[in-house]
Amino acid sequence: MLIFRFVLSHILISASLFAQSFDEEREQQMRFRELLTPFQQALKERDPIQLRMQWLVVSQLDEHVLIPLLDLCEEYSSPAEMAWITTAIDKITSRSLNDLEFEKLEPLLMDTKRSGRGRRVVLSILEQIKPGYRDGFLLSAELDPEFHRDYMSSQIDKAVQIRDQGNVGEATRKLTQLYDRAVDAEQIISIYNMIKEQPDLVSLHERLGLISEWKVIGPFPSEKARGPEQTYPVEIQYLNKQLDLSQSYDVDGKSIGWIAFKIAKDVTSLKFGQVLAGRNDSVYFASTSVHSDVIKRVELLASGGETIQLWHNGVLVIDAPFYNQRPRLDRHRCLVELKEGDNTFLAKVCIGEGGGEGGGRGGAPAGELILRIVDENGKGLILKP
């Protein structure tokens, strides 16, 4: 009984000490949060004069204010606003590196509910406390929505190192696995370029969900860059579901018709100039159709040089009629619903006039078109014509 009482009293004392220290810590955190109130106020008001004064105060505080500052990162998404917070964090961290508590900071990185940007700030601090920490963290970050790309990038670098050390077979195997798992278009292309000679490799177009088979026609005169605003017979027929891809059109006394075009396997864009006459101040059209087995919500990712307008099943879904655009992956995005059966697309791309005496169109974007279709996770869809 005596021993029982002795043990119980110790347990109670320890519990009360723990509770007391927990309370003290919570009180301390609240005290620091209060200290940050004027800083927070200045951030809300976006007043640079107040901000710089408050920044000077906050950046001189000790490391106990770090977690309240990291919590503040959750409230702001603009890099400009975050910069006030992160530069203060940086000042405190570099002054108090030896006093930072790794165990208290790491959970903030692991919490996937926190903002990606905030988690990256935490990772940066942890890397300063324990150099090399980042590499270890990324090894298990493949499924982390914020750090998936970082994971992939570090794995690609490792595979390249293996290859450079002479173990080409193992590097290729690793890269092929990464190729199947990558979601980011840039990373998919980068890996593909390293292993494209491999037999049985899923094509780049299929991995990206790139639409590679089209019928194209042009050039139609844009008449002093008015192409995007003008309505051409091709568009009228398409919208009236009367588009006949065997039809020809008279343009300045010449007959032009639809030509089949398949994008080459290593290329990601349709270049009109490869099969059609290239001319300044012109309009080109591209038509295609894809089959879907079910009704499906997808994302269209399109781009044109220099302008692009894209219709899906008769509805204008991407309208970017401004000149000087360069074609690049995923420039314009929109969510659409594919219907069960055939889905039609019509793209209209216009090229500008050129610059007169200063130089032709040197460096100007050529007539190009890119369209890819991905699912809700960003994975390319394989949709047949």
Partner: protein, 431 residues
């Protein structure tokens, strides 16, 4: 009598015209000086120097150097970037970027005399969209800093702009990619900000949604924004001057087939001059009452008379000789020297635009030349420094930096500050 009177009138008119030209020249020079930041004469406050002409004050600069002589110090840089260094007092300041998407942004200050790190200010920038032409090895620290001697303004290709004091403490931040639209310059934005008359001018030329901004130097707020939908991607830093005849503060932007002059107070167009190439990276400069602007590829050099001119009288001469894509040119003794991208130095008369000389110096170029101590320094992308005597163009020396050089050098403290791919070098004579 009538004829004599007429002759006298003509002579008087000629004298008057000459005096007017002199007056305009004086006004131009004093207007540029008026606009100049209030730094020390030894400073190099923008990527083209404190006078935006690539000409520095220095003595006893070496014509060549190697590992044992001429390199006063070299310091590894913390991460990547191609911005040019600037010098404010005893600080050399430049920017770098790091991280998977080069969104970790740094403004770095080193001691000009020892190369030791003074301070480093780090913050996070916006992720750029996928840019197919963007060369990853350049990173996003490509626009160069600018200073008025008291404040440092840095801009990054991500769209972030910041103002720091001389200790690296923040004064304001802007995220232009968030405030307006994400930056979409396909090669990466490279135009540097400019400070004049209490404002920071930022030119955002890109493929879709180009604009020019005037920000308050004091708090970074937008004073005016001028949309320029007709403009495509360019990389020229704007040029600011005070018009001698109207006394208006003017801002020059070049590219997309034209030179455009804006009222720096309001952003309204004052005049345009056609004849530039579609793509423009070099920054113009003023020679007497002429604005000299080069653009390429396939472009030309234009000499445009400043002041209140009718469109017919504005263009004084144009020349397709020797134009290149990236480097800006330099003026020496009434001539315009331009290396182009491929190391063929072309010399044009600034009065007439006629070709005076041509000389092959070899190499490919991104950096613009600088002149000081009677020498012109060309830094090639391969890391070769070729030094020419400024009057005779005799090659005085050739040195290897041991690494790529894409940034233009700075001249200060009787030294050159050269930023290589991995190091910052101070070149000079040991005292």
């Amino acid at each position: 009598m009538m004829l004599n009177q007429t002759k006298l009138n003509c002579k008087t008119m000629a004298i008057a015209r000459g005096n007017l030209r002199l007056l305009m020249l004086f006004s131009s020079l004093s207007c540029i000086l008026f606009l100049m930041p209030t730094g020390n004469a030894a400073d190099w406050l923008s990527w083209r120097g404190s006078n935006y002409d690539g000409i520095g004050e220095a003595l006893n600069l070496p014509a060549s150097w190697n590992e044992s002589e001429g390199i006063l110090w070299q310091r590894p840089l913390p991460s990547t970037g191609y911005s040019s260094p600037i010098v404010i007092g005893d600080q050399v300041v430049l920017t770098t970027s790091d991280g998977l998407d080069y969104t970790e942004l740094y403004v770095v200050s080193l001691n000009a005399f020892s190369g030791e790190l003074n301070w480093k200010t780090k913050f996070f920038g916006s992720k750029l969209p996928f840019l197919s032409q963007f060369a990853k090895e350049l990173g996003t620290a490509v626009p160069s800093c600018v200073s008025d001697g008291q404040n440092i303004v840095a801009m990054f290709s991500t769209g972030e702009v910041c103002c720091l004091d001389l200790s690296g403490n923040p004064l304001w931040f802007r995220s232009l990619g968030v405030d307006y639209a994400p930056f979409t310059n396909d090669y990466g934005a490279a135009s540097s900000p400019v400070i004049a008359a209490g404002k920071v001018f930022v030119s955002v030329d890109q493929d879709g949604g180009s604009y020019v901004l005037a920000l308050s130097l004091e708090d970074g707020k937008t004073i005016w924004k001028r949309d320029r939908p007709e403009i495509g991607d360019n990389w020229a830093t704007p040029f600011v001057y005070r018009c001698p005849s109207t006394q208006k503060l003017c801002l020059i932007n070049s590219g997309s087939y034209m030179i455009e002059c804006l009222d720096a107070q309001s952003g309204e167009t004052l005049w345009t001059q056609s004849g530039a190439a579609r793509l423009c990276a070099p920054t113009p400069f003023i020679y007497q009452d002429l604005l000299i602007s080069t653009s390429g590829p396939g472009g030309q050099t234009l000499a445009v008379r400043l002041g209140d001119q009718s469109p017919e009288n504005r263009l004084v001469w144009k020349s397709p000789k020797g134009t290149g894509f990236l480097p800006s040119g330099i003026q020496v003794d009434g001539n315009y020297l331009h290396s182009g991208d491929r190391g063929i130095l072309t010399v044009l008369s600034l009065k007439t635009g006629s070709e005076v000389a041509q000389k092959r110096i070899g190499g490919s170029y991104r950096a613009s030349p600088v002149m000081a101590d009677g020498k012109i320094y060309f830094l090639s992308l391969e890391g070769t420094a070729t030094v020419l005597e400024s009057k005779t163009l005799e090659i005085l020396g050739v040195s290897s930096m041991g690494e790529k050089v894409g940034a233009s050098p700075a001249v200060a403290h009787d030294s050159l500050f050269i930023r290589g791919e991995k190091h910052l070098f101070r070149i000079g004579v040991k005292r």
